[in-house]
């Protein structure tokens, strides 16, 4: 299923620095629409950290998202004429990122049927954090998410991990609020039940680690 290119997409977590001599999104997007490579390079500089973050959280820990990151911005270059509202550059890029993530998740599922890697995960590129339990808990959470279809997983990640409002998630998927509520309700029951059954994750469901109570 393709994801929509919504004119008013999800709100990102970070606010990019603008002002001074830096052109605003609308100006950049207008130049990019003409195929100006300098504008595309500037858009990369401005948005690649945000897009990388969305991809990392969508695809999960231990996965190198470099290829997907490149794909997002190259797709933007190829489809720049689709951006009808230059001011919607950010949501346009996020829409592409979600589609790329969904495509990668489906590909990973197919690859996992053909060739399982150790624990289904690849080398961890990120620096280890101080709390190994937390790191392991996140890995286990994503193993649960691996069992979901791509769109259910993305909806869960956008809402619970990235912290998007339900209305924003619904808008990103181009469905009604009621639909996304139903989808997330179903998904959350499954994820919650799986997390409860995991000796480590259950500790993180409570108010503080170790309480084990939601």
């Amino acid at each position: 299923m393709a994801l929509p290119l919504t004119p008013h997409g999800p709100r990102p977590v970070l606010v990019s620095k603008q002002g001074g001599d830096e052109p605003d999104d609308g100006t950049l997007a207008a130049e990019a629409a003409k195929g100006d490579p300098g504008a595309h390079a500037a858009i990369w500089d401005r948005y690649s950290p945000l897009v990388r973050r969305v991809l990392v959280r969508a695809i999960g820990p231990g996965i190198d998202v470099e290829d997907q990151l490149q794909e997002v911005f190259l797709r933007f270059y190829r489809n720049r004429a689709l951006l009808r509202d230059p001011a919607a550059l950010r949501s346009f890029l996020f829409g592409i990122a979600l589609r790329v993530a969904a495509s990668e998740l489906r590909s990973r599922r197919i690859r996992s049927w053909l060739r399982l890697t150790k624990d289904g995960l690849l080398d961890e590129p990120e620096a280890p954090r101080a709390d190994p339990d937390a790191r392991e808990a996140v890995r286990r959470l994503y193993r649960i998410l691996d069992r979901l279809d791509a769109n259910s997983r993305l909806a869960f990640v956008l809402h619970y991990v990235d912290g998007w409002e339900l209305t924003e998630v619904a808008e990103a998927f181009g469905v009604s609020l009621a639909t996304i509520k139903r989808r997330l309700a179903r998904v959350s029951v499954n994820v919650f039940a799986s997390a409860q059954a995991d000796g480590l994750l259950v500790q993180y469901l409570g108010d503080e680690k170790g309480h084990g109570q939601p």
Partner: protein
Amino acid sequence: MMNRGPSSADRDAALSRLGRLARAELTGDASPDQASKARWRFRESLAKATSERPVPRWAMGTFAAAAVAVAIFFGVRAMVRPPLTFEVDSVEVANHDYFLVPPTAEQAHVRFSDGSDITLEPGTRGRIAELRADGAAIGLESGKASLHVVHRTGTRWSVNAGPFVIAVTGTAFDVGWSGGDQVFEVMLRSGSITVKGPMAASGIQLAAGERLVANLKAGQLRVERPAPAASATTNDPAPTASDDSSDDMGSRRIDGSPQARSGGSEVKQSWGKRVAAGDFDAVLAEAQEMGLEGALARSSLPDLVALADAARYRGRRDVARRALLAQRERFTGSMPAHTAAFLLGRLAEAEPETAIRWYDRYLGETPNGEFASEALGRKLVAVQSVSGPDSARPVAREYLRRFPNGAYAAKARELTSP
């Protein structure tokens, strides 16, 4: 132990805590080295993607190294274009290569990586059957679609709609197919297409402004010409009351029914009527029987128009060319004579210099003629092929000034971008 059956609010809060944990763990922050490598890689890819287009002078310094690297690393591969990709702008529409626009939805848009695009009307369904570097094959199962195919050297697109196939090289047209009614319709806005299918086995080439409607149940195929061309046919003898092959648009109806094919009229039909009835071969045969020279010298202007059409539709370029030249020589200053200059340019495109002269003549005679956009766009392509981009640039600028949204605007922008 966990509580049994937590409320949805409790469950939501618990999962939000897990989510926050994941958010803290998965920052997505790249090391400076990672970020630098990724940035450089993107710029290399960008340089490759833009290598076929002029790069702004100010950007040359920035991308020169990347371009060199691309040339070294990609070598011959850089010459090989990847297959097209596409994006669909509505979540409800696409499932991989299959598209279905709900009847209650708004239009949907499919955008291809070469700049071509398709607008799908509500209720339309079909498939992106094939994606290649030089084009795509679209299968229209039902509904209506508007296509704008960007013309580039070697462009090859096709649209299958029911039993009909449309071959496209670079054009804009609307196509519709109703399996239930067995009605096929295509309206060519610019460029040229060839339609093959029932009642058009050898292919019918349409020119800009022409509309083809085929009703398989009724066994009819009709080609309608735009109004100016139609005005030429108004000199035809008035249709008889029983003659149902004419309409107020100067259309030509191709009727597969035996009655229609036999003429059904005691009065011998004009060539215009015969072309309207689909008897292209009969018109050509009759012209040959008369002696082509004589036919060209004595036929009325509408008959000459019809003869040229019949010859074009049947691929008899020699006859078409002579009929068009006869229009210009014998009926100088008439609208069909002006249009003939454009059509002569189309026929001469294998010799671009000749085509350019005809297009110039058409544009000079009718600067705002109905084919002006098409003539100027085709001239642009021809000039580039003959004299290169520098010579084509002024033509491109003129095209953009006059037709900023025309079918060749993308091509013109490519040429004029700094």
